[in-house]
């Protein structure tokens, strides 16, 4: 029987089969090439053209712009004196004096540090609750921690205005209780709380995952060796959880350092961060200084990320929780201090968390149906409808915003998915230079959205000339490209772990059974990482729907505005329509998620 088989198989391997095999082998290479071209065209080239202006004045390379920037106290505060050549002692004394100046960069780092502390403080109790306690709805709550991260930032900003504004929910509650009103608008506190809203769930997520992977037998070993429960926690659990907290903190710092819409809406130009100033410089057509400032921003963000990655490489503990720690019931089992105190703490935390996470969304919804006199009304929604019917060409109308948002998000997702999957495949293969590919592919996460937007505006929309051919894209195409570039790293991040964890022998089994390499991708690898692909699609879609920074640059004047841009234009005049538009955005985003989940089938939580 075996001889006959061999003959049949051997005879069937014709030249055409071999040629086919060759082509299939090249398929990945071709896809990788297309992705690279897209990345270069939509990211590296446009960003490069903007950044180059910082070091190229009138065609000659110079570092003068940087020099001026570094010596300018407006940007670097007291540190600028150091760059200007003053003695470090004098600068240190200046930094310690009460009337020190931080400068824009210093303030940005300062608010990022405060936001990081606030996010960790707000995230850790949540991780403790999610990792160590069992209660109804725990899984749902765990899934919900992803929500703030994908909420459109401008909508969150509107929510915070509705909560902490002069006529916000907080002051209404205080007023009802007979207390004096507080004004949190345009303060550092408001910005820090809004950042915590965004990033505390991220901290909670990574910490919970690490905590859940602590092996109970490690704790039990420590206990049997004589360590008390507290000692065992600090000796065994904490060292395994601590790197995850640091991961969350590092990411929070980087995200909040580059923050834009929240500060723009809650801080105004008085409390401007670097990114807000880059935006302002761009609006003033001061491109060289904007580019130099963006490079400084990028350098600091990448510095933090690299320092963190080095730390992670040295300290990564890859222990798989064979048996996770048992969860405790939320109701105390005995009236002892040890049982009751942690739960009381969690109850207090629940109140704070409710204020931070639920109040902004609830306030936004409430404000959208509350009139100036405090009575329930639908006037803000009616305003949107009227504007749709009678709005002039230059005015922002709701329907084009919704239509644009959905169209851009769909197109960006369709573009980001294959890009992300290809990059995920490339970065999970083993070869020399893989780290470099990984870094180059992830760079869009760290670069200022303003600069990406500006680069695309000048590079794509105004047109480029390549070998005598002139390429120009419409604002809409540029926005889609910008969103795809912003969203695909998340596809990579959701797909790559699945590919990485895939058992090599599954692939080899399929090949031994006769499947070609390409066929194995279709039959084995894609089906097994499908939940990651769907999650990636949801991410890409959400990122696109919420993207504000690049969009606001590219949508200038054009009718390519999206829902977040519409909100920002409304918020400048009246809060009511902005909250109504925010609710529309919330509903559209929520519905889209349901649709993606239906289309993709069953998904695993990220």
């Amino acid at each position: 029987m075996s001889d006959a088989n061999r003959d049949a198989a051997g005879g069937g391997r014709t030249l055409r089969d071999r040629l086919n095999g060759r082509l299939r082998g090249r398929l990945l290479t071709a896809l990788a090439a297309v992705t690279s071209v897209l990345l270069v065209g939509a990211f590296y080239y446009p960003v490069g053209t903007v950044l180059i202006e910082a070091v190229l004045v009138d065609g000659a390379p110079t570092l003068a712009v940087f020099g001026e920037l570094l010596r300018d106290p407006f940007y670097f505060g007291e540190l600028a004196r150091l760059f200007a050549g003053e003695s470090p002692v004098a600068v240190a004394r200046g930094l310690l004096s009460p009337d020190r100046r931080l400068g824009i960069v210093g303030f940005t780092a300062y608010q990022a540090a405060l936001s990081t502390v606030a996010s960790v403080a707000l995230g850790l109790p949540a991780a403790y609750l999610l990792a160590r306690f069992e209660f109804p709805g725990r899984r749902t709550l765990r899934s919900l921690t992803i929500v703030p991260f994908v909420l459109p930032s401008i909508m969150v900003a509107v929510g915070f205005v509705a909560t902490f504004g002069t006529n916000g929910t907080l002051n209404r509650v205080l007023g009802a209780a007979g207390l004096p009103p507080v004004d949190l608008m345009f303060t550092l506190e408001a910005i820090v709380i809004a950042h915590a809203f965004y990033n505390a769930p991220l901290v909670a997520r990574v910490t919970t995952a690490a905590w859940e992977s602590v092996d109970a037998s490690a704790v039990e070993t420590a206990r049997s060796l004589g360590a008390g429960p507290v000692r065992a926690f600090f000796d065994v659990v904490a060292p395994q959880v601590y790197p995850a907290v640091l991961t969350g903190a590092a990411l929070t710092f980087v995200f909040t350092f580059g923050t834009f819409p929240i500060v723009l809406a809650l801080g105004g130009f008085e409390l401007a961060t670097v990114e807000v100033f880059v935006y302002r410089l761009v609006r003033d057509l001061n491109y060289a200084e904007a580019a130099a400032l963006a490079i400084v921003e990028l350098a600091i963000s990448l510095g933090v990320l690299l320092a963190y990655l080095r730390y992670e490489a040295r300290n990564s503990v890859s222990s798989r929780g064979v048996r996770p720690l048992p969860r405790k019931p939320l109701v105390p089992t005995a009236p002892t201090a040890r049982e009751v105190l942690p739960r009381l703490g969690l109850a207090a935390y629940a109140v704070v968390a409710g204020l931070v996470f639920v109040a902004p969304i609830a306030s936004m919804v409430l404000a959208s149906v509350t009139g100036g006199d405090g009575a329930l009304t639908l006037e803000h929604y009616r305003f949107l409808l009227d504007r749709q019917r009678t709005g002039a060409a230059f005015q922002v109308r709701p329907w084009p915003a919704i239509r644009n948002s959905l169209a851009f998000a769909s197109a960006a997702t369709l573009l980001a998915l294959p890009m992300g999957v290809v990059v995920a495949v490339l970065t999970t293969r083993r070869y020399r230079g893989r780290k470099l590919v990984d870094t180059a592919a992830m760079a869009p996460l760290a670069v200022s959205g303003i600069i990406v937007g500006l680069g695309l505006l000048r590079g794509l929309v105004f047109g480029v000339e390549v070998a005598g051919w002139r390429f120009a894209a419409t604002g809409a195409v540029a926005i889609v490209v910008a969103h795809a570039v912003a969203g695909y790293p998340f596809v990579v991040r959701t797909v790559a772990p699945g590919l990485e964890g895939l058992d090599r022998s599954l692939i080899e089994s399929a090949r031994a059974l006769g499947a070609s390499r390409a066929r194995v991708i279709r039959d084995v690898e894609l089906p097994l990482v499908w939940p990651g692909v769907v999650a990636g699609a949801a991410f890409a879609f959400a990122i696109s729907i919420g993207e504000f920074t690049a969009t606001v640059v590219l949508a200038t004047g054009a009718d390519a505005y999206t829902m977040p841009v519409a909100i920002e234009r409304f918020i400048g005049r009246r809060l009511g329509p902005a909250t109504a538009m925010g609710v529309v955005l919330l509903v559209v985003t929520g519905l889209s998620f349901v649709v993606i989940e239906r289309l993709g089938g069953e998904t695993r939580g990220l």
């Binding site: 029987m1 075996s2 198989a9 090949r511 059974l513």
Partner: protein, 376 residues
């Protein structure tokens, strides 16, 4: 009879042939200049400690790796550059590697997407046939996750066999199972293999399993086979100290030849002659039979390494006797494995009755097997 099976049949090219195959990873050679021939229909086992290169050898045959040097041939033809999917091999991995997103039936039928079932049966018939063969006739619609380890292993076997491969490659397919199940399954694997007559290369670190299941065994060490022979030969006539110690329990002695007897006929079983050498091991003179291969070269003053299996060491009997004290004993059921202390070295014997204190053990010259003799 062992030597008969050892002889190379001259008629056909071997089903699998490795010719000077080397596989390097950086500076280390996982497989170092290996030449092996696996015959048509043979159950051939690669056995050795972890890191000996047995799995890499199997992967070179499957086509998951390409050799750094040397040639792999199937039925006389080089398979260099032929991808795994075109080699007509069936592979079973240690962790079974069942596709978790397919049912048992879909798993078994997967290979039939790329090859028509043999004997002109339909795809469904072939899947049913194979599940029948591995004794899981009703499992087609089940989810692989719902199966036990032993059942998964059998499904993996059925999946590998479904397209009717020329060659079955098994990479430690039972090492994740418990001992009892392992013994039962290896009988089943061997039965299926014999029934189909399919050439099989089996990788295991378990020497007992290798002896029990194989037609021939290659004992590997540091990327090279130390001995390739039928199980009985490997067990009774190990070719090196390593093989002697790796396969089963053994007592290895080394000493200097003090005297060699006149030739005598041995057992009447073999042609040629056997002589008896008197060997001085740590001051004790032990008498060892040396057969044709080494008989004429051995002279007094040579160094001789030989071994005596525990079951050949008899209590208070034998031509050569050693006085030793009992160090420890493990009761194994059928026998007791006793470790003795003989002047600071360990001796292992098997007995039915418990031993204690000082004992005399001995062996006859023919029960000793000479591993190496040299002039040094």
């Amino acid at each position: 009879m062992d030597s008969e099976r050892d002889a190379e049949p001259s008629r056909a090219a071997p089903a699998v042939e490795l010719d000077g195959v080397t596989k390097r990873y950086g500076d280390t050679a996982a497989v170092d200049d290996v030449s092996l021939r696996v015959r048509e229909g043979e159950f051939f086992t690669l056995v050795g400690p972890s890191g000996c290169g047995k799995t890499t050898t199997l992967r070179l045959i499957a086509g998951f790796e390409e050799p750094t040097a040397g040639t792999v041939r199937f039925a006389g033809d080089s398979v260099a550059g032929v991808p795994p999917e075109d080699r007509d091999v069936g592979v079973v991995f240690q962790n079974y590697a069942l596709f978790p997103h397919m049912t048992v039936g879909e798993n078994v039928g997967y290979g039939l997407n790329f090859a028509d079932p043999p004997d002109g049966v339909s795809r469904e018939e072939r899947v049913a046939e194979l599940l029948e063969l591995v004794d899981l006739p009703d499992a087609a619609d089940r989810d692989p996750e719902s199966l036990s380890g032993g059942q998964r292993q059998r499904v993996a076997m059925a999946r590998a066999l479904a397209p009717g491969p020329d060659l079955l490659l098994l990479d430690e397919p039972m090492s994740a199972l418990d001992a009892q199940l392992r013994e039962r399954l290896r009988v089943q694997v061997r039965t299926i293999q014999s029934e189909l007559g399919i050439t099989t290369v089996y990788v295991t670190h378990d020497q007992e399993e290798a002896l029990a299941i194989s037609d021939r065994v290659a004992v590997m060490r540091d990327g090279t086979p130390e001995q390739v022979a039928p199980p009985r030969t490997v067990y009774r006539e190990p070719s090196s100290r390593f093989v002697a110690a790796f396969v089963g329990d053994n007592n290895v002695f080394a000493g200097r030849v003090v005297d060699v007897d006149e030739p005598v006929a041995r057992d009447g079983e073999r042609e040629g002659t056997t002589r008896i050498a008197a060997v001085d091991v740590d001051g004790e003179t032990l008498r060892v039979a040396i057969d044709d291969a080494t008989a004429y070269g051995v002279t007094p003053g040579d160094r001789l390494t030989f071994c005596v299996r525990p079951e050949y060491l008899r209590i208070g009997d034998g031509a050569s006797r050693l006085r030793a004290t009992v160090a420890s004993a493990e009761f194994l059921g059928e026998t007791t494995r006793v470790t003795l202390d003989w002047g600071g070295r360990d001796l292992v014997v098997r007995t039915r009755d418990p031993l204690s204190g000082e004992v005399v053990v001995g062996f006859d010259p023919a029960d000793a097997h000479v591993i190496a003799a040299d002039d040094g």
